[in-house]
């Protein structure tokens, strides 16, 4: 395998990159469970930083979980029917609509947040509630849900399936619930996991939209990086990793499954 110097160089670059990405992750995990980071592991392992994080930031962790689930519910209610509507009306208007809802992927979260703030910032009740952050999260995650479901729907022969059901007397709503949703399930699952993962980690929009009473997990992270000792900041990051890494793995698995289904159906 390592016959040529070119191969050796490639291996070297790969390993250095790996170290660059992984060493700080490992450092933060270790610092989060080490009694005193500067004295090193010899100072002993402890869970006291984790408990301290829990006391300080449990509210923001719960708010993030709640927001992610609410965001999932809203993107399901808006996104799944919308993907069906787009799949049934392929044409110019649908393409423009799809492009337009994808704008939040292209425009930085900071700019979107400023736009929302300037238009809705004076509605005090809305501005101060978690619903304001939820709006931002839905805006950012909705295109992922729509595209994930749409790509599965476009790959299957929706028309034949629906015509079959229609000859048996099923109306459009019945067909949507009994035919479309079950067939689109891999896309819905992949979209759902993407939405939850992105919502839990969202910072750029959330930082601008939050109030002192609506702090989410990443907002708390920024707070701990700025004002807490390194061990607490690391322990909080460790808690975040424990939540996000399983989600990321599930998301990658579900996305691979959905695209396998889409390409299988397309053949």
């Amino acid at each position: 395998m390592l016959r040529s110097p070119a191969k050796l160089l490639q291996l070297f670059v790969t390993l250095v990159t790996c170290a660059f990405l992984f060493v700080p992750t490992l450092q933060s995990v270790l610092a989060g469970v080490t009694a005193n980071y500067f004295r090193g592991l010899s100072s002993g392992l402890t869970l006291k930083w984790i408990t301290e994080v829990w006391e300080l930031y449990a509210d923001s962790i719960f708010l993030s979980v709640w927001l992610a689930l609410a965001c999932l519910a809203v993107t399901l209610v808006i996104g799944v029917p919308a993907a069906y509507g787009l799949a049934r009306n392929p044409g110019r208007v649908s393409r423009i609509l799809e492009e337009f809802i994808s704008l939040p992927l292209a425009i930085p979260g900071l700019a979107l947040a400023l736009a929302l703030l300037q238009l809705y910032g004076s509605f005090k009740g809305f501005r101060a509630s978690p619903a304001f952050i939820l709006t931002g999260h839905v805006l950012y995650t909705l295109p992922f849900m729509v595209r994930s479901v749409l790509s599965v729907l476009m790959a299957m022969d929706l028309k034949t399936l629906e015509e079959g059901a229609a000859t048996l007397g099923a109306g459009p709503v019945r067909r949507f619930i009994d035919i479309v949703v079950p067939n689109a399930m891999p896309g819905i699952l992949a979209g759902a996991l993407t939405v939850v993962t992105l919502s839990i980690g969202e910072f750029n929009l959330t930082w601008m939209l939050h109030t002192p009473l609506t702090k989410t997990l990443p907002v708390g992270l920024a707070d701990s990086y700025a004002s807490m000792r390194l061990e607490i900041a690391s322990a909080y990051t460790l808690v975040f990793f424990l939540m996000i890494v399983p989600l990321l793995m599930a998301m990658q698995w579900a996305s691979a499954r959905a695209s396998a289904k889409a390409s299988k159906a397309a053949q």
Partner: protein
Amino acid sequence: MPRPVFPLQRSATVTSRQFAGLCLVPLAVFTFAFLALPLVRLILGSAEGDAGWGIYLQILKTPRYLSALGQTVLVSLAVTAAALAVSTTAGLFLVRNRFPGRNVILSMLTLPLAFPGVVVGFMIILLGGRQGLFNQLLPGHLVFAYSMFGLFLGYLYFSIPRVLLTVMAAAEKIDPSLEEAARTLGAPAHRIILDVLLPALAPSLIAAGAIAFATAMGAFGTAFTLATDIDVLPMVIYTEFTLSANFAMASALSVLLGLVTWAMLLIARSFSGTTVAAGG
């Protein structure tokens, strides 16, 4: 009472058409209220200062904004070049070679996909901050996290996994017999890379590069964690809005930034159909 077949079918298609249209209503309402209207407000808001629409000219005339724009473009270009070089090298290696531990390496390289920009900033602080790894190993010499180099490393950190996945997906589709043919014809390794692999990868590299550039231009979380005194565009927008309460300028700079990143993503889309979550 049996009814004629034709009108029944006709009325059924009309209602299912209507239903498919109705399915788009919630999306249209949400997008109109929370995307279209706010964006219009942002654009109009940029002209509400003393300078009116001349504010866009003012950006070009004010050294602080101009240098921030220049610095942001430069660091984003540097990150794009570095991320492409590193990810193409590692990606081709991982696609062409199977060895024990390959999947572990692959997981390590894609793990940061889910890290928000703030966490990436913290990773760079752990490496190059005052209490970081390098400063512990070589005390007093290597604190780079809070400089432009730290920002560069932070942007590189979140760009590598995204570019790597795009490159690997494209490299897996290249027919290995092309390489074999070149090798049988006696082409040296660097010619195979230059004449066979890179041309085949070019569309994906352009797409991935455009996305990396756009993400770096708009990255806020990493810059926010690392340093508030580095003038990159998102930080300038943030300070204009929160500290100076100069809403018109914050809006104008946001519109400018949004146009640049949107244009980059359009380029990316025209070269490949992939969408990658913008993070940072």
